[in-house]
């Protein structure tokens, strides 16, 4: 039953008789790939646009409406050696892209204004010590005001908005002193200009905004990149469902196109992508992704099935109750909400710094003003000096100190295979001293593996593999994978719930349940030796063989444990799986702390217990059942193969089969946190050197400009060190 692939859901009308589709493409790395793909796709007649975006690894395609089927592009790319799948921009990603453009526009305007105000300021500075006439100075000040005031009103929006929001909730963040400093500096400069004064600070205010916008833009770009990669991976998983359209006809449609009330077909070996109830058929389903329990559950009419479960033996018809984004156990999403609220109580390093910094700075300015008045200065001079203190201490470098380190560290972590989902994850990851691992799919590989391959003759193994290729059953798939078989046997008959059989040179070969192949006794011997394995039998004529199939630990799991121990991090396993399986994994990894048969609520309880004891807990997991625990932990990591939900709640996501990114992530974030602290001290220290000068009333706009750009450059250069982490071999 080969269903038709239907991608019409993703096609958009691009106007003037053109259709548009975005494809996520895997494995595009260089200019060679780029031109190969663009040429390959442009060669198809009626294609009007084929453009690769190397940053987010996507291809935009346009063609004359109705002339082509999008399936053609996917097949063409497959021929060129690239895996591709249609991509639908999530609303969150679109909003980030828009925000990023807005910041870049602000940055452009601010940079333009800074350059022009500087062009006017430098003659004033040099004119003040030579022969500039006051009228000329006033003219230049007015011109500066004309440029700086509208520019600051536009480009300051990100800061003013954020400061307003913080103040409304009776909080202080870094944007409060920034906004106050900018507004006071501009206001005072305007008043001074009206009074024909010698100094105006238009240049300092607008330069401050420019530097800060650089920091904001870098920060935003880092998050956008991660989101794009995560979005591509979600698209490339190519989750489809087989939907009934009309009478008995089926079509393979993307999950996004499924609506509640639809009826879908779930064949053996397929992963269910929707929540629903069985209306016809009988089968066993594997719900390990949802419950962590590896024992299969039987499903019949009226059984509820959830997204993420795998159908094992029979074909099921399912009426969809929730599709796409609604597919969650109500219980899990409730737990998740609670846990996420707890997470938001974490205060970022930058905000903690500004809570200390802002009152201190404002108090200093106030004392300066009172001091000067008491010493007999005029109110005008006292206020001008106080504002100069605010300008000189304005946290320009403070605003750059953390985003620059985050950006450099995120880039380095990206190359090490770790993606950041939230900006402050680095700070939290660096503090971790305890890690809780989920077992299934995290410490073990998600696919099953044949463990007794040495005991089976190679020719038999290959034949069994070729036979197994015909079956969708996960255990058979494991045999096929382990044998590296490529060509399926012809004329294979599947006995539902039993196995597959075929004829080779007139001899019957069977693969399936031990009873189906008459190999019960052999299977029992293996099962007694290791109760965790699934036995699958193979028979050829009178010869009988049994494959032992089970989950295997990831290759570098042991090395990672050693690496974590060396860094002083304690490890435990908390799994929803049965006790013997968890114990076996814990023993072979040398972990003494483990818990088995744990429910999602109990996982959270365990995390809370450790938090009470003062541990900073990281949760590493992948299953749907881990999502609330991932959100509850101090920081969380999730595998890219994980279910959507757990990726959305995890702070960091890592790629590929090895677990090494866990250790690399910790190393990079520890280094980065050190640099962030160092940068904060550098920025504060640099600014405070200038404070006595400001209090004394000797600050000129030139000194303010030098202090600001000097300290900003210093923290930016220091941030570049975040990519240098000595790779300690465990």
């Amino acid at each position: 039953m080969q269903a038709v692939r239907d991608f019409s859901h993703y096609v958009r009308a691009a106007g003037s008789g053109l259709s548009h589709i975005d494809l996520a493409v895997e494995g595009v790395h260089c200019a060679g790939c780029m031109s190969k793909i663009e040429r390959g796709l442009s060669a198809i007649p009626d294609v009007t646009l084929a453009r690769v975006n190397l940053t987010n690894r996507r291809v935009a395609l346009e063609w004359r409406e109705g002339a082509l089927d999008p399936v053609r592009f996917i097949d063409q790319l497959a021929e060129l050696g690239y895996k591709a799948y249609p991509f639908e921009t999530e609303s969150a990603e679109a909003a980030e892209a828009e925000q990023s453009r807005f910041l870049l526009r602000c940055l452009g305007v601010a940079a333009f204004a800074t350059m022009n105000v500087m062009m006017l300021s430098v003659p004033i500075w040099s004119g003040n010590v030579s022969d500039m006439i006051p009228e000329q100075r006033d003219f230049f000040h007015w011109l500066s005001a004309l440029i700086a005031l509208p520019a600051a009103a536009y480009t300051g929006q990100p800061f003013f908005k954020s400061a307003y929001q913080a103040l409304r909730t009776r909080n202080v963040n870094m944007d409060v002193p920034i906004s106050l400093g900018v507004m006071l500096a501009l206001g005072m400069s305007l008043v001074e200009t009206i009074h024909h004064a010698e100094h105006a600070y238009f240049d300092a205010a607008i330069m401050l905004l420019t530097f800060l916008l650089v920091g904001r833009y870098l920060d935003q770009n880092m998050r956008r990149r991660t989101r794009a990669v995560a979005g591509n991976l979600a698209a490339l998983k190519a989750e489809t469902a087989t939907k009934f359209v009309g009478h008995g006809e089926i079509a393979e449609v993307p999950i996004a196109a499924i609506r509640p009330g639809d009826i879908v077909l779930l064949r053996p070996g397929e992963r269910c992508a929707v929540d629903g109830t069985v209306i016809e058929g009988r089968s066993e389903i594997d719900q390990s992704l949802i419950t962590g329990e590896t024992v299969h559950v039987s499903a019949a009419r009226d059984t509820a099935v959830y997204a993420g479960s795998i159908n094992i033996s029979g074909t099921l018809r399912i009426r969809v109750s929730a599709a796409s984004e609604g597919t969650l156990l109500a219980d899990i999403s409730r737990l998740l909400d609670n846990a996420l609220q707890a997470r938001s109580r974490y205060v970022r390093l930058a905000d903690r710094a500004s809570r200390l910094y802002a009152p201190l700075v404002h108090a200093t300015a106030l004392l300066t003003m009172i001091g000067w008045v008491l010493l007999g200065a005029s109110w005008h001079d006292a206020i001008v000096t106080a504002i100069a203190v605010l300008i000189i201490t304005c946290p320009c470098a403070l605003g750059l100190a953390i985003p620059t380190v985050q950006t450099v560290a995120a880039g380095a972590m990206f190359r090490a295979g770790v993606l950041l989902n939230s900006g402050d994850a680095i700070e939290r990851l660096a503090e971790v001293d305890r890690i809780i691992f989920d077992k299934t799919g995290t410490l073990t590989l998600p696919e099953l593996d044949v463990v007794n391959s040495a005991a089976i003759p190679p020719d038999v193994f290959e034949l069994a593999g070729r036979l197994a290729l015909a079956s969708h059953h996960p255990v058979a798939a494991a045999v096929a994978r382990a044998s590296n078989a490529r060509t399926p046997l012809p004329g294979v008959v599947e006995e539902p719930g039993q196995g597959v059989l075929a004829f080779v040179d007139g001899e019957e070969v069977r693969l399936g349940r031990p009873a189906f192949c008459g190999a019960d006794q052999l299977a029992n011997e293996i099962l007694i030796g290791d109760p965790e394995v699934s036995a699958v039998a193979f028979s050829r004529g009178n010869a009988r063989y049994v494959f032992a199939v089970r989950q295997r630990l990831r290759d570098d799991a042991r090395a990672m444990m050693a690496g974590l121990e060396m860094r002083g991090i304690a490890v435990e396993i908390v799994s929803g799986d049965r006790e013997p399986a968890v114990r076996a994994a814990a023993q072979s990894l040398g972990i003494c702390e483990w818990r088995a048969g744990v429910t999602p609520a109990d996982k959270i309880a365990r995390i809370e217990e450790l938090k009470q004891q003062g541990f900073k807990v990281m949760m590493v997991g992948d299953g749907l059942n881990d999502a609330p625990a991932l959100a509850a932990a101090h920081v969380s990591m999730s595998l890219i193969s994980a279910a959507h939900l757990s990726q959305a709640t995890a702070d960091l996501v890592f790629l590929g089969k090895p677990l090494a990114p866990v250790v690399a992530g910790i190393d990079f974030s520890r280094k980065a946190l050190g640099l962030m602290r160092q940068n904060l001290w550098l920025a504060v220290g640099y600014n405070f050197l200038a404070v006595p000068i400001a209090i004394a009333g000797f600050v000129t706009p030139l000194i303010a400009a030098l202090a600001m750009s000097g300290s900003s450059l210093l923290v930016m250069l220091n941030a570049l060190r975040a990519r240098l982490v000595a790779q300690r071999r465990p």
């Binding site: 260089c30 200019a31 031109s35 975006n53 190397l54 305007v109």
Partner: protein, 47 residues
């Protein structure tokens, strides 16, 4: 100093032209794929 009457508007005009150029390039999506643009510059021309 009468030269300022020409020089100042000229300088501001040039700056403004630069800014408009930047805004145009932003609007036409030239910053959407910075990695790709770096490579396209050295790629062979289409035959």
């Amino acid at each position: 100093m009468e030269v300022l009457v020409i020089l100042v508007p000229l300088a501001l005009g040039l700056g403004l032209a630069g800014l408009l150029g930047f805004l145009w390039s932003l609007k036409s999506g030239q910053y959407d794929d910075l990695d790709g643009a770096a490579w396209r510059a050295i790629a062979d021309d289409e035959p």
